[in-house]
């Protein structure tokens, strides 16, 4: 079933018409990748889903429920977590506090969730007392993703996680996401073609505020024509 659907979504940012009728359907349990050149509207799409930008028209359905007019802070409560491009790991809070802040029900992270997170990201064990500002880029990315796992959300929206990461971190992130996708649906925006296609199941290519092509990642990997036409790869 489709965990997330967007029907003809238009978004205006100030005077600019950024999303010009986005149609997509994210299938539950799959890892969907959103590809496209810079400026195509990928981040705006993420932010529209999360309610950070109001959409001017169209529908967004999460588990068949319309969410396009909900306040931005209500959407995460439905079970959607965002890992933003800028990460926004709070500098003056410890890693432990960063995780606790994300907990929606209860005071601390549930034991089983914590074990799951540490299983996916073993290095986190050392980091709990470290403040956000003392983390390296790779550690920040790890914490940002871990934070999204705290509540067991069904849909994770991840925006350009490999940006600025060293290759070895990119690889461990790839492994982590491959494992996470077994228990959550992921919508991934990523410029790194190899990274995203190695773990992706479905793809959407975005151009000028519209989805111009969609399909199976297997198909995309072997089709260099599509790759060069849409992605300049």
């Amino acid at each position: 079933m489709n965990i997330l659907e967007m029907h003809d979504v238009h978004t205006h940012v100030m005077a600019f018409h950024i999303l010009e009728g986005v149609n997509l359907a994210v299938r539950q349990g799959r890892l969907s990748i959103l590809l496209g050149r810079n400026g195509a509207g990928k981040t705006t799409t993420m932010k529209t889903i999360m309610g950070l930008h109001p959409c001017t028209s169209g529908k967004i359905l999460f588990k068949d429920m319309p969410i396009q007019h909900m306040h931005d802070f209500q959407i995460p409560r439905l079970g959607i977590s965002l890992v933003p491009e800028e990460r926004y790991v709070f500098s003056n809070l410890t890693v432990d506090e960063n995780l606790r802040l994300a907990v929606r029900k209860g005071k601390r992270v549930r034991q089983d969730r914590m074990e799951y997170i540490l299983d996916i990201f073993p290095p986190m064990k050392r980091l709990f007392k470290k403040k956000g500002k003392d983390l390296s880029g790779g550690e920040k990315q790890m914490v940002a993703v871990a934070r999204a796992l705290v509540n067991g959300d069904e849909l994770l929206i991840i925006d350009e996680p490999t940006k600025g990461l060293a290759p070895i971190m990119v690889e461990s992130l790839r492994v982590a996401l491959a494992r996470i996708k077994r228990s959550a649906t992921i919508l991934l925006v990523e410029q790194n073609f190899d990274f995203s296609t190695s773990i992706g199941d479905d793809y959407f290519i975005m151009e000028n505020g519209k989805i111009v092509r969609t399909g199976n990642v297997e198909e995309l990997r072997s089709n260099s024509a599509i790759q060069s036409r849409y992605l300049g790869v």
Partner: protein, 287 residues
């Protein structure tokens, strides 16, 4: 040159002044750090805390009852200001500033209308009057009370900030409201709450101040200037900075007041210029 007793007395004196300044600044610094709203009317809220407080304490014949009721009243008042007025100007920092500035006129004038322009000294309750001999010098009990009050408030704020979820949200919100919202937290309600806490702190500060220096319709403007200078010294956006700066200013005023009484008033500015020339963004500032 100075006897130990006198020296320690001056230090204690400075501490009490510093604590008073801390009380006066705390609400302002909290609201500014979290909401990024420079509430120029904070001084006027303090003044209302003083006038209302004295009135309530007299009506209830209870000093402690007065302080509690005043704190709550000013807190509610601050919440209403945020909800009905400031919220309408969300996103426009300049106009929020101008709005709070305009509120000064209104709040101050209403006090003048109700209570008149005279300066009224107020006596604290019997059990807080008089003085104790400390280090061989007399020290007014009310100043000890101020130190106690300041310490209690400081500890409470510290505990809430660092040990509660609300404090966590506030500390995170100071850095990025957007991310806090992206975590599913309705930060607008927290804004209102913080404004309320700011008001409560103003109410308490005003109450304590009223019994200390009397009531005067100039209180509002005088205090907001002091507050601004101290917050600048401490560094914008840093609550710890404000606290430290308050103590430093208090101590400075105490010693300057002893050696050069005419310059006591300017003491606060001297500290500001000294600190800013060494560290332009204030003690703990990160501008």
């Amino acid at each position: 040159m100075l006897s130990t007793g006198l020296y320690l007395n001056l230090v204690l004196n400075g501490l009490s002044m510093g604590m008073l300044y801390f009380l006066l600044c705390s609400g302002f610094s909290l609201v500014f750090g979290f909401l990024r709203v420079l509430n120029f009317a904070h001084g006027s809220l303090i003044m209302w805390g003083a006038y209302l407080g004295v009135f309530l304490a007299a009506t209830l014949s209870s000093f402690s009852g007065g302080i509690v009721l005043t704190a709550i009243t000013i807190g509610v008042f601050a919440v209403s200001i945020e909800y009905f007025l400031i919220r309408r100007l969300y996103g426009n920092e300049l106009f929020q500033l101008l709005l709070t500035f305009g509120l000064i006129f209104i709040l101050d004038q209403i006090i003048k209308l109700i209570w008149g322009p005279a300066v009224t000294p107020i006596q604290p309750p019997r059990y807080l009057q008089g003085s104790l001999m400390i280090f061989g010098e007399p020290f007014t009990i009310y100043r000890l009370f101020i130190i106690a009050m300041g310490t209690i408030i400081c500890l409470s704020i510290y505990l809430v900030f660092n040990k509660t979820k609300l404090g966590l949200i506030i500390r995170a919100g100071i850095e990025s409201r957007e991310m806090v919202r992206a975590l599913g937290i309705d930060i607008n309600r927290i804004f209102t709450l913080v404004c309320g806490i700011g008001g409560v702190l103003a109410g308490i500060a005003g109450f304590v101040l009223g019994y200390f220096s009397g009531l005067s319709p100039e209180m509002g403007i005088n205090q907001i200037i002091n507050i601004l200078v101290i917050v600048v010294i401490g560094g914008l956006g840093s609550f710890t900075g404000t606290a430290v700066a308050a103590i430093i200013v208090g101590l400075t005023e105490s010693f300057v007041g002893f050696y050069m009484p005419e310059f006591a008033v300017v003491g606060i500015f001297i500290v500001m210029f000294v600190v800013l020339s060494i560290k332009p963004s204030g003690l703990f500032g990160e501008v």
